[in-house]
Symmetry: C2
Subunit: 255 residues, 2 copies
Amino acid sequence: MARKSLVGEVADDLLDRIVAGEFPPGALVPGELELSAQHEVSRMTVREAMKTLEAQRILSVQRGRGTFVNPVDRWNSLEALLRAAQAQVGNDAAAIQLIELRRMLETGASALAAPRMTEAYVAALRGHVAAMRAAHERGSLEEFVAADLAFHDTILEASGNVFLTAVFQPLHRVLEARRTETSKVAAIQEHAIRMHEAVLAALETRDSRSARDAMDAHMTQTLDDLVTYVQDQPAPGQSGQGLPAPAEGRDAVAS
Amino acid sequence: MARKSLVGEVADDLLDRIVAGEFPPGALVPGELELSAQHEVSRMTVREAMKTLEAQRILSVQRGRGTFVNPVDRWNSLEALLRAAQAQVGNDAAAIQLIELRRMLETGASALAAPRMTEAYVAALRGHVAAMRAAHERGSLEEFVAADLAFHDTILEASGNVFLTAVFQPLHRVLEARRTETSKVAAIQEHAIRMHEAVLAALETRDSRSARDAMDAHMTQTLDDLVTYVQDQPAPGQSGQGLPAPAEGRDAVAS
DNA sequence: TTTGGTAAGATGTCTGACATATCGTGACAC
DNA sequence: GTGTCACGATATGTCAGACATCTTACCAAA
């Protein structure tokens, strides 16, 4: 394990410390020399690690002064943002905001994809739903989640919008973890299968409005499942750096 | 000018060459030694430049083999994607896909912002609309665009969703350039003012659905204006690396 | 034909050095 | 007492050269 490069390790560790709240936004991170001593690597290695974080606008380097942590809303990398969100265990605000964003993108993707559905896409979607059902009956959680994600990926691809794909991609990893959590409940799996079938049926009509509505219903169900089954677990409030307050969320984006 | 660091220059130039099609996806970019010779900088400088591009998933470095260009849909940085899109002059597909994405995010933001509108936000929005009207009468294109963008930024902020803000931020710069282009036409300025007033009125009702619809209408108007007034200019089709085919776009996302 | 070794070329990392921007501090002049 | 200037401390920016290690291609030997 831990096969990553030294640069990757240093960058990872530094980002961890940032999202853990050790270096809040605006704070000065340790200098290159200090970090190279802490990690027992050369200064060049630390510099390259910092460059990767700077490219994601997590840090801003000021020559002669030092390196500072940018405010979270300046971060360019959804991936890093998601990591920050996950670090705050039990932070409902982050989870809800995430679903809000996902709802926007997925409903939009469905609406775009509907008129562009080819037979190949329809067949692929049917296959994924069948895989979900099979995995459900076999009790294979992993395969269930994989088929679920594949279904959404296919829609994303069918939308034909590269920007959309680029924006959504970093969400993928987080969704996988989250779906694995929620899909442990059998009832949720059944919900999900029904909803996916409805989305597929709507897409087959090639009608944008129907596809959007079906996907929107699916997102609402996802949010409901999350609230009902998962967010009962105790949430040890961690300080972190505090993502802003939650929005209404529930039906705010619903059409 | 050219105040950026050497690393920035090298990274910029390499990205330019990539989006220009000199190194298509999957291609092997010149080695570190070769690039350091071309730019007359040290190998470390080239390495740090590559690290910034790698952090945006534009390049993937494989030890012992070389450095390769990732397919465009793997790129993590909307900013870089937008640059690639802009490099393809007259690429209507990219422009339309961009508006599609913007429509999803802005309508979603409006729906989220509506129930969270405070008097302060309303006052700020009123101020921006007033500024647009004043700039219109005074004939100040620059101020008009600034007020326009400020209006949308305020809504984004009011939505209270950090992820949304993070996703939208890179779009800002491109929108500024594009709005400056389209807003040159007086008629479009008048359209825009009317639409912004409608959005503001809908937000004041605190009703998500109304706010969403008003913003959606605004997006439709923006797209119409773009098609009607701007895309008449001759488009010298450039090869580039070809963003995927366009979607329906026009009313596919409309509610 | 297959296998194995070796060399070439690529990136990964280290060491050490100098350049240059920023800022605090103290000496100096007023 | 106060403003100004110079200098040093500290930070990042860049360079040079070296060695390590991984991948691949090539070639010779079984």
